[in-house]
Symmetry: C2
């Protein structure tokens, strides 16, 4: 039996409809500023994709091209401008640790990708709202959010508040921007999550009283984790990573690849119930969902 393949573009369209309906209720369309340093080719393509995605839902997109030495000032300017609702900086700018500095310079309240450590910390500390009255939701990182929405679309998820209760997940990748927040979010949703990265496996577990999650070291190896996982998620940008094979996974597992290269052997299609080959446009769609949410909150629309 062949796995069902979920196309992220189809799911993204569902969310775009929601976003369009929300924008129709706003006093003005949100304004997203893209900051692009001219030096890097691939970044320009990403910026163009953002522009198209904005056009499709009615978010205004202002792409600002700057020499890399002026990116810092461009960020400050966009931070200070009350007309600007969201900021996306296209990395690499310097391609060194200085990029991390720039990432933190973006006002967290305009960081619609949720890349700022401010949001990672909110996630790890299970602070879901940014105001004491709990009317304004914290931003969650958009690539992990895209993965979660795709996993939900696979049918593996149950009802809230812990839709992944009783499920076991394996994630290969524990980067600060995707794998670690993703493991935390899935454990918050009730899953046991085995997280693999170069510094060894960790186990993310749902916290007590339906709250948050905890993390501990674990001795499990890849084979042991995969054999019991209902969901397998990969994001390893290296050809040295041994492809996940059908023989390793559980019958009917949901398999998601968010790496830019393929981390699964083709034979998983015969054993998985659902295969999601990429996150694709779901990431930018979640970023646009975030900017619209920020505008709605700013205008007091629930």
């Amino acid at each position: 039996m062949a796995a069902k393949i979920i196309d992220p573009a189809v799911l993204a369209e569902t969310y775009r409809n929601e976003i369009r309906a929300d924008i129709a209720r706003l006093s003005r369309p949100p304004l997203l500023v893209g900051i692009l340093s001219a030096e890097h080719g691939p970044s320009r393509t990403y910026a163009e994709w953002t522009g198209k995605a904005c056009d499709e839902v009615g978010v205004r997109f202002d792409l600002r091209m700057r020499p890399r030495m002026q990116v810092e000032d461009a960020i400050r300017e966009a931070n200070a401008d009350p007309e600007v609702d969201g900021i996306i900086v296209y990395y690499p700018v310097f391609g060194t640790g200085q990029d991390a500095y720039l990432r933190e310079l973006v006002d967290p309240m305009k960081d619609i990708e949720g890349l700022h450590p401010h949001w990672a910390r909110a996630l790890y500390e299970n602070r879901r709202f940014i105001d004491p009255a709990k009317t304004r939701k914290a931003i969650v990182p958009c690539t992990p959010l895209a993965v979660i929405k795709l996993v939900e679309a696979s049918g593996v998820a149950g009802p809230p508040p812990r839709p992944l209760a009783g499920k076991t997940v394996t994630i290969f990748n524990r980067s600060e921007v995707v794998g670690r927040p993703l493991a935390s979010m899935m454990a918050n949703d009730g899953a046991r999550v085995f997280s693999f990265d170069i510094d060894g496996p960790q186990l993310f577990l749902p916290g007590p009283a339906d709250q948050g999650h905890t993390v501990e070291e674990t001795e499990i190896d890849r084979a042991g984790a995969l054999a019991q996982s209902d969901v397998v998620i990969t994001g390893v940008p290296s050809r040295d990573f041994p492809l996940v094979r059908a023989a390793e996974i559980k019958e009917g597992a949901v398999c998601v690849n968010f790496a830019t290269i393929r981390n699964f052997d083709e034979d998983v299609l015969e054993k998985a119930s659902v295969f999601i080959p990429r996150v694709g446009t779901m990431t930018v769609t979640m970023a646009l969902r975030n900017i619209v949410r920020l505008r709605k909150q700013a205008e007091g629309i629930s």
Copy 2:
């Protein structure tokens, strides 16, 4: 004529005397908490050195050994404890991007090494005080500060407010923790600074009206920069870096190596006026100077 060699240990003793005198005026000795994850050998050695340095001046040192999964909680605990004046976390803990997350978790007001992006930003924005009344000085990163103090000890520096006015400096290293803040600090002090790193050279210049600095791209190459530099500073942790040779430097230049390996050819000793082979104990001494300054400020002692 052979270069004079400055031993950082000798200069450090001068600062230790200042620190001891300051501690004598405090209502209690400062408390420094070290957080060490048991997994890494070299970190333990650094922690022991910190302990010795604290003993020598009368700072209390409490070394807390924690499994790496508990380092985050240990940081939060030390952040929250009003008895704790300073925190040093010994990296690597995870050896991944998660270490950057931990670094930012440390309360900037207890980050006596000045590694938190909070202090980098204060430096780049030329905010020298942390309070509106300008009574409490911002913390500056301790390794760059150690280099500056060593350069001052070489005799190349003039009077304040811009002791390096008219001087040209070349720095090989633009890391976020040493090279970039160092270039900024030296430009703040009046120097023209050529900064080299894998992403190309940058030129740091003193700002107008004796304030701060500016940064721009430059086309200069290594030979052009070295030929006009009064001070040459290296911090390249790679054997692939071609050693700086006598033929490249200006007669009488001050040469400083802060890398853990040697970036200068031995022949520079014949052409340099001063050679500083390492920062050594000056770094921890500057961190202790920071913790004492924080205590003094907290107690209202000028």
